[in-house]
Symmetry: C2
Subunit: 423 residues, 2 copies
């Protein structure tokens, strides 16, 4: 069994944590921002140093490849993203990129024989926190392989026109051009050139920690439904309009949300999670009763029958008025549970077992670039324990030891895939 | 009794409704915007046409004055604002300016004798919808006369530094400079130069309509308390974190809001209104549980003892956790009930009675420039019926007849003040 270097991994984590550092222990590194470009340049510099060739496709995805013994073999890839949410942490996404770098560096340094070319990938704009949607550029690359309801979210032209949520003006296409990372479409990942792909990622949940496991062998990304819940009332002045005749959309939304919790929680569905994380309020000034309030509703479960039950409750909410306001729901998107390639999953487990790290099987509740790649190529993921289960926040943490274990598991799983006859 | 012209008033309403027209029947006319400058220029042009002299103070307030028979007499003023909220209507604010113009035009056209110089005023940035706070430039002008807790909101330097809520960059001071409306401090309204002031405004509530009255004789602006309610939880990922351990600040805020309604409504306090119109959510993305949610809480009643009861309920909310989130409240501002000058109120009533318009006594629930002027000068207001009680929205409407009645009432009340020995 081969081991990655704790020292090198620690240094990488620390160095990349400076690109976009908030000063509070976390980072804000929006896709294609100055800070993200710094991380990309550091990636390129280090990959060139070990002799990797760099290719950049038309949506800024970067592929750093070291040659294998068989010049005709397809590439085995590893990758994740360098962009973050606002006030995010130092692990979500970037850990998968650092692990891929660490795997390639270890292979080169230790002269580990391998047949296939091996590629470390940075996917552009996974978070979608400045330019929606999330997983944008893995979505574009996998476009032809996606189910229709996901595919329609990733039309190339729509993506280029996606506007910054901050200035509502700059488009993703403009930001891409300005970043200097608009390469050539011919470099996109395809099944003709690539054999399979691995993604190492933090768990973003508390399950591994609770079970005292460092590593998660991921078997699937669980299905989800994502809706917008919209309440419409009437704007009136705060000081002059009698209470009993108001139609307050924020109050109505609060009633709907409390009712949803009451009804859904009463079902006691194990493993179900649902989140109402984004809100829109209009006109959103303290002297006006809101006439419009919208919130996101995202529910996730491996078994579609439970999501169907939740959807029924959501639909029921639209059948009545809430404090005089109408309620409607709009489907934003859904995805079915995506299962990973069973052979790759077994390599990850074998690598973890042989290395003697503590591990368990786990589902991914979050979406990742890997989930779209899974429609195109044999794919799997490796999870690293998240302290307190926290992510998308500055407190996000995995120990250097755990991160190095994750990279070592990926290294050995990649080498098993390298020797496999077929996946 | 003198009458204003229905035809002229109708034309004015229609003309000024074009400055910032949204195409949906309303306007967006932020203070000092291109649209607001168009309205200001039209005001100046028309006032110059009737021989008024124009003065502009250092915060852009415009004073258009026609001379009276007594060159030493103090000025009698009338005024309101031309700025609006986002997607506001064609009456809030602008009606007070149009009425003042109409009064001056009628006096000049009909050669109505008057002793005092008479002034029509535009107050800059009443809504505070782009640059907070509201009633900014009447607040600055009345600064020395305001109670300390209001005064501290209107420090001149703070006002100049107030940042656009849209780009979070442009300051009010910069916008003022760029607008060309930064005049001289010596032109500010003062008690040495001005005798008293009237403000005509739409009711912004449904009371006059319900009672079939066109005109409200306003006796006070009712007191208010304005707080921020803040819930703090923990950001975790939407797909990975078990429900029972979440600390969801938006859900907690919804629970607080529902509980506030339940408790406050149970008190059955006649005339009490409270509004939660502004929200802040962080990080406000659909894949994150919010760790922070803040909403405004504005309650208004003439009698401070009822506001005290509401505050107790608000304070009680901070004594427990809501879905694992802490709750705190912060006082934003409060104001005591401001009573109008009783002599001026009696003139308004006499004018309405003598003109034969339908009227009643009424309180103002909303804040107006007049309320700060009331600390400095004898002040009063005239309300015009609002259809459906709607305001701060595009549906805002008062009929041309009602608007003209309002102007006629102000005209005759101003002429009574002109003849008074003292107020």
């Amino acid at each position: 069994m081969y081991q990655c270097s704790l020292e090198n991994m620690t240094e990488k984590i620390q160095t990349f944590a400076t690109f976009g550092a908030t000063g509070n222990g976390g980072i804000t590194r929006y896709s294609l921002s100055k800070e993200a470009v710094m991380a990309r340049e550091e990636f390129e510099k280090r990959m060139r140093k070990i002799g990797a060739s760099i290719e950049i496709d038309d949506v800024g995805n970067i592929y750093a490849t070291i040659a294998g013994e068989d010049a005709d073999a397809k590439r085995i890839a590893m990758g994740s993203h360098v962009d973050s949410v606002l006030n995010g942490g130092n692990y979500d996404g970037i850990l998968g990129v650092l692990s891929a770098m660490e795997v390639l560096e270890t292979i080169v340094r230790e002269k580990i024989p391998h047949k296939h070319p091996l590629t470390a990938v940075i996917w552009t704009n996974e978070e979608g926190s400045l330019y929606e949607p999330s997983m944008m550029c893995s979505g574009i690359v996998c476009y032809d392989y996606l189910p229709p309801q996901i595919q329609e979210k990733y039309h190339f032209e729509d993506m280029m026109d996606s506007k910054s949520i901050v200035d509502n003006k700059t488009t993703f296409g403009e930001a891409l051009k300005r970043s200097g990372y608009q390469g050539d479409k011919k470099y996109r990942m395809t099944p003709e050139k690539y054999e399979c792909i691995f993604e190492t990622h933090i768990e973003q949940g508390p399950i591994l920690e609770e079970h005292h496991k460092d590593i998660g062998v991921v078997d699937c990304v669980i299905g989800l439904m994502n809706y917008r819940v919209i309440l419409r009332g009437q704007t009136v002045h705060s000081g002059t309009f009698p209470m009993e005749r108001r139609k307050d959309a924020f109050y109505a939304a609060s009633q709907v949300l409390c009712s949803l919790h009451e009804q859904i929680d009463a079902l006691h569905i194990p493993g179900l999670v649902y989140t109402t994380g984004e809100v829109v309020c209009h006109p959103c000034i303290h002297t006006c009763v809101p006439d419009y309030f919208e919130f996101s509703f995202d529910a996730r479960h491996k078994d579609p029958k439970y999501l169907k039950k939740v959807l029924e409750i959501l639909k029921d909410c639209t059948k009545k008025e809430w404090s005089g306001c109408s309620c409607e729901i709009q489907e934003a998107w859904t995805r079915e549970t995506v299962y990973w390639n069973q052979t790759l999953v077994s390599y990850v487990e074998k690598a973890a077992r042989d290395l003697g790290v503590s591990y368990q099987y786990i589902h991914s509740g979050a979406g990742h670039d890997a989930q779209y790649l899974g429609y195109m190529l044999p794919t799997t993921m490796i999870f690293v324990q998240s302290k307190g289960g926290l992510s998308h926040c500055e407190e996000e943490y995995s120990s250097p030891e755990q991160c190095t274990e994750g990279a070592s598991v990926m290294l050995n799983a990649v080498l098993m895939a390298d020797m496999a006859e077929e996946l």
